[in-house]
């Protein structure tokens, strides 16, 4: 682009900033802001663009700046201790014992001691020895007033020059400090000068529509949240009703209703989280609890022999963070369901693990049930096929025999993903009669759970599962909205 075009493309902010520099000297951004009347942020931005257009050169310079410490700021407000000391002594008649003076000055012991030493050294006060030593003004401070400490501090605050010796003394006392700062300065170059001239001659600004513009960050949803909303919408379109999904549940719902025996290895310490407090929750009416107990112990007349052990109600009352979303389906069955009915939940689940690129201890699971007289294994397969199409966009599927304590038959769904190859998409089955019959449900219940975190990772193009809960604002700002559907 020729110089004229560049000059014509400059925005008002850039022009103002360039004019403010407009000489051989280099200026700090603050100075440019002062000269141009622009906000410092605008100057920063303008300098960025001008440098990109090669009209100015920006240099970095390190410099030391003196500033008051927290203590210094307090002294600036209240006065230096040695001065407070003298003022106070004068006010109470020029003489006082130690204790009284310290009380009246309100100085902490350490500072009082310092002030006394300081003033003695300067011969502003003397100590009269006796049974109770006293401090007395000499009058010298009146004759030879010292340079006010407060004025010194003001000088620093206003960034005026200070004698090196005085500075060192104040630094020793922890009143001032020196910090390193990087100051950026801009200097106009030959191109810039020509552009500046061209600005003068240009009648009106011709827009450079190709030029860089400031970035706007819009308000938007978290990408993973958007993904889950999409899934939720699809499920409601398929006729599923969303269930309540408390994060804290009784073991009763997480395990017992689901016919998982109480000595099952999966119920042990290492595989689930337990709570320190609160410890035990309430159970539904005794009638229901008794039936679940019977199912475990002897099959509760469902045609099953049960697990043949003594079921313990105290274990069932224990509270835990839900380890799988099927706990919510179990809870819904106990609370009551419509027949026919379809229910789902998308909820946080918790399992102890070491957090790394593949594992989270807190993740989302999607789970649901279909209750209807017409349901059977072939319908279960039909449902899985539909899920593969709806959620993974593929018709290449494989049904794999599997095992879950609460379903029989059980079937795992594998799908061929265009990018990942064959992956396990979820598990499913028909709830065992030991689970449904004691709750008064006579119809077959199809149960399914799909692993959505993996699908989300593919959709969002991420390799590290932790990024689903990304704490990188830049990444969140840059995620395009259209990517997830």
């Amino acid at each position: 682009m020729d110089l004229k075009a560049i000059a014509a493309s400059l925005s008002e902010i850039e022009k103002k900033a360039l004019k403010a520099i407009g000489s051989e000297e280099s200026f700090s951004f603050e100075e440019i802001a002062g000269k141009s009347g622009l906000q410092i942020d605008s100057v920063r931005r303008a300098m960025g663009w001008l440098a990109e257009k090669k009209l100015v050169e920006i240099s970095e310079e390190k410099k030391f700046e003196k500033r008051l410490t927290e203590k210094g700021k307090i002294y600036l407000e209240k006065g230096m201790p040695e001065e407070v000391f003298l003022d106070c002594l004068e006010k109470i008649g020029g003489t006082s014992d130690f204790e009284e003076l310290q009380k009246k000055t309100f100085l902490p012991k350490e500072e009082f001691g310092f002030a006394l030493g300081f003033n003695r050294k300067k011969n502003f006060v003397v100590i009269l020895k006796g049974e109770k030593p006293r401090i007395q003004l000499t009058g010298l401070s009146k004759e030879l007033p010292p340079e006010s400490g407060k004025e010194l501090l003001e000088k620093i605050e206003e960034k005026k020059l200070l004698e090196r010796e005085k500075f060192l003394e104040l630094r020793e006392r922890g009143i001032v400090e020196e910090i390193e700062k990087t100051a950026r300065k801009a200097r106009i170059n030959e191109q810039g000068k020509k552009a500046l001239e061209a600005i003068g001659s240009a009648k009106e600004r011709a827009y450079n529509i190709q030029g860089a513009v400031p970035e706007i960050f819009i308000g938007k949803k978290q990408p993973y949240v958007r993904f889950l909303q999409g899934i939720r919408r699809k499920l409601t379109e398929l006729g599923f009703v969303e269930m309540d999904s408390p994060a804290i549940v009784q073991e009763f719902y997480n395990f017992d209703v689901l016919f998982q025996p109480q000595n099952h290895p999966a119920r042990q310490w290492a595989d689930t989280y337990q709570l320190k407090q609160p410890k035990f929750g309430a159970l539904p009416p005794e009638k229901i609890v008794e039936k679940i107990k019977a199912a475990h112990e002897n099959g509760a007349g469902t045609g099953s022999r049960g697990w043949q052990y003594k079921w313990d109600i105290e274990i069932a009352k224990k509270l835990m963070p839900a380890a799988h979303a099927t706990a919510h389906s179990a809870r819904q069955l106990v609370k009551g369901v419509k027949v026919p009915g379809k229910y789902f939940s998308i909820s946080r689940c918790y399992r102890p693990d070491i957090v790394d690129a593949k594992h989270l201890i807190e993740f989302n699971q999607m789970d649901g049930i279909i209750i209807d007289e017409q349901m059977n294994f072939r319908k279960l397969l039909g449902m899985l096929r539909q899920f593969a199409v709806e959620f993974a966009g593929t018709e290449k599927i494989k049904f794999v025999p599997s095992y879950y304590p609460f379903t029989e038959p059980s079937c795992q769904l594998n799908v061929k993903h265009p990018e990942l190859g064959w992956i396990e998409l979820g598990g499913s089955g028909i709830f065992r009669p030991e689970l449904t019959l004691p709750l008064g449900i006579k119809q077959p219940v199809l149960a399914w759970g799909l692993g959505i975190d993996r699908l989300a990772m593919v959709k969002l193009g991420i390799k590290d599962i932790r990024q689903l809960f990304s704490d990188d604002l830049n990444w969140l700002r840059k995620q395009p909205m259209a990517a997830i559907e």
Binding site: F217, Q229, F240, E242, P246, D353, E362, P401, D471
Partner: protein, 547 residues
């Protein structure tokens, strides 16, 4: 899911079938509910998905399950058991400690490397899963030639007996084993509180083992020269130890070794183990049709059951089915029906569409959250998502609050995740701390669950949905955050009231308590000390309300 290491050659020889490709092998493994996790030359890593099938935890067991689909051999496998006239005498003093035992003798054993690896693997995995880490079943294998019948199972006092435990050189008494031997320490909890400990010992006082802890070095080591084996299982239920013994012994029988029974003499009664008498379950024809959605013929049903290792006989309206004594997982006819479906092959069954019209709906919670989200994004805020599990340091100490109504984890893996959050703000301040190099102003929000104990509720936990909005940058002052609150409430159709407050994490005089009906929240500028605690330099203001 238990994972096994198996030699492909060994599996093929036991299954009497060759698998030409990976796909063929995978297909065959499905009959045993197994998955091929990895294949490396002859070495297979196989995942066994059914944790209630100890009989599938070895090459022998998997091969047996597959073989019936590729050969004429169908139904319950027949193993020959010979009478040995050996007895195992159970002392009355074991009754309250670890009362049950089952045993068998195996002869003409040919110890190969593969066999030994499979036996050790099977023994370990059965004890771990089916045996509930040896609590319900602990298995011992011994060189029978080194022991003298009859055997005895009785309890001894901790100092009464000494023997050399497996892989040790010196004799130890029972107490020393529990305190010092690695296996002793690992399983000591199973014998805690007893005055005497269980011992399997031969007629000449030679110790075989101290179940469920450790074998003796002298007799409990199986090597390549071993020709005869004693297998024993101890536990708390006869059915469980019998099943575990059957699993072990039937795997040995698969190798063609000879099985001999042992008479277990309990005080007052005797039983003979192993007991391979098939177990029985009735399966209604109607149930098969209803559950599967298929209508197989009677002949097909019998054949499919045969492949699944059942002997099915047609009765009026149902099939009387026998299944092998090494299984204990058939609780209900549905278990047998699944086996039948697996015999067909899941992928050979035609799926049917569900075709069930229901009216879908999102929960009330979801709807409220989504409305709030829409307003927040309209306000130009970026949504963040953090974890609900967090640390006390972040939630309390850094913002100068004390512990109250905390929902706390008993077994945290890391101190970073030891409690459930009570408020979102500290998580967002932490978020700001990680994004200091990001362009300001930063305006973010999060909507999600928070937690507090509440005695009145079913789970003793209240899980309110909260919204936190936080802004950071030069303009982050009270006025701006109040404008945001105002706009949010107006658009949400909520009326709010502000009261002066004195929260320790907000700037004095620039904060307030928000009241929306009976729900409370806070608003204000974050004070200097809290900003420092999160490593923040920019002014920051925030609000948090319950939705």
């Amino acid at each position: 899911m238990p994972s096994l290491e198996i030699s492909k050659k060994d599996l093929e020889s036991l299954a009497k079938t060759k698998f030409a490709s990976k796909e063929k092998l995978e297909e065959a493994l499905e009959f045993a509910k197994c998955e091929l996790d990895a294949i490396e030359g002859d070495k297979l890593a196989i995942g066994v998905s059914d944790t209630n099938r100890p009989d599938l935890l070895s090459a022998e067991g998997i091969a047996r399950e597959i073989r019936s689909h590729y050969s004429k051999e169908k139904g319950v496998p027949k193993y020959k058991i010979t009478n040995s006239s050996v007895s195992l005498i159970v002392d009355k003093n074991i009754e309250k400690i670890r009362p049950c035992i089952a045993a068998a003798i195996v002869k003409k054993v040919n110890v190969t490397e593969e066999f030994l690896a499979q036996m050790i693997q099977l023994q370990e995995k059965v004890c771990l899963t089916f045996g509930r880490k040896r609590k319900e079943a602990a298995i011992g294998l011994y060189d029978w030639s080194k022991l003298k019948a009859p055997m005895h199972y009785k309890a001894f006092r901790p100092k009464e007996l000494k023997f050399i435990p497996l892989d040790y050189k010196a004799e130890m008494d029972l107490e020393e084993i529990l305190l010092e031997h690695p296996k002793g320490k690992e399983y000591a909890h199973l014998l805690k509180g007893f005055e005497k400990y269980p011992i399997v010992i031969d007629n000449e006082g030679k110790v075989a083992s101290m179940p469920p802890v450790i074998n003796s070095q002298a007799t409990g080591k199986v090597s390549e020269t071993t020709k005869e084996l004693l297998v024993e299982v101890t536990g708390h239920k006869q059915e469980t130890v019998n099943t575990a013994l059957n699993v072990m012994v039937s795997a040995l029988a698969e190798r063609g070794f000879d099985i001999y029974n042992v008479k277990i003499k309990y005080p007052g009664k005797s039983i003979v183990t192993p007991d391979f008498l098939p177990k029985k379950i009735d399966v209604k024809i109607e149930s098969i049709k209803r559950l599967s959605g298929l209508s197989p013929s009677e002949k097909q049903i019998i054949e499919l059951f045969g492949k699944a290792r059942y002997n099915a006989r047609k009765k009026k309206g149902f099939f009387s089915c026998e299944y092998p004594a090494y299984r204990q997982d058939v609780l209900h006819e549905v278990d047998a029906i699944e086996d039948l479906l697996i015999s067909i092959g899941y992928n050979k069954i035609t799926p049917l569409p569900v075709e069930l019209a229901c009216v879908g709906a999102e929960s009330r919670e979801t709807k409220i959250m989504d409305s709030a989200r829409e307003i927040c994004t309209g306000l130009g805020l970026q949504e963040a998502l953090t974890f609900t599990m967090t640390s006390k340091g972040k939630q309390l100490q850094k913002i100068f609050l004390s512990e109250k109504s905390l929902v706390e984890i008993a077994n945290p893996v890391s101190a970073n995740y030891e409690i459930f959050r009570q408020r979102i703000l500290p998580e967002l301040l932490d978020f700001f701390g990680k994004n200091k190099n990001c362009e300001y102003p930063q305006k973010i929000f999060e909507i999600g669950k928070c937690f507090e104990t509440n005695e009145g509720l079913e789970t003793k936990t209240r899980e309110p949905i909260k919204l936190c909005i936080a802004i950071s940058g030069k303009e982050a002052e009270f006025t701006l955050i109040k404008s945001i609150l105002d706009a949010f409430c107006k658009n949400m159709g909520l009326e709010y009231e502000l009261r002066e407050s004195e929260l320790a994490f907000l700037e004095k005089g620039k904060q307030g308590e928000i009241l929306i009906g009976n729900k409370k929240g806070f608003i204000g500028e974050i004070n200097r000390k809290v900003l420092q605690n999160f490593g923040l330099e920019m002014p920051t203001a925030a609000l948090e309300i319950e939705l």
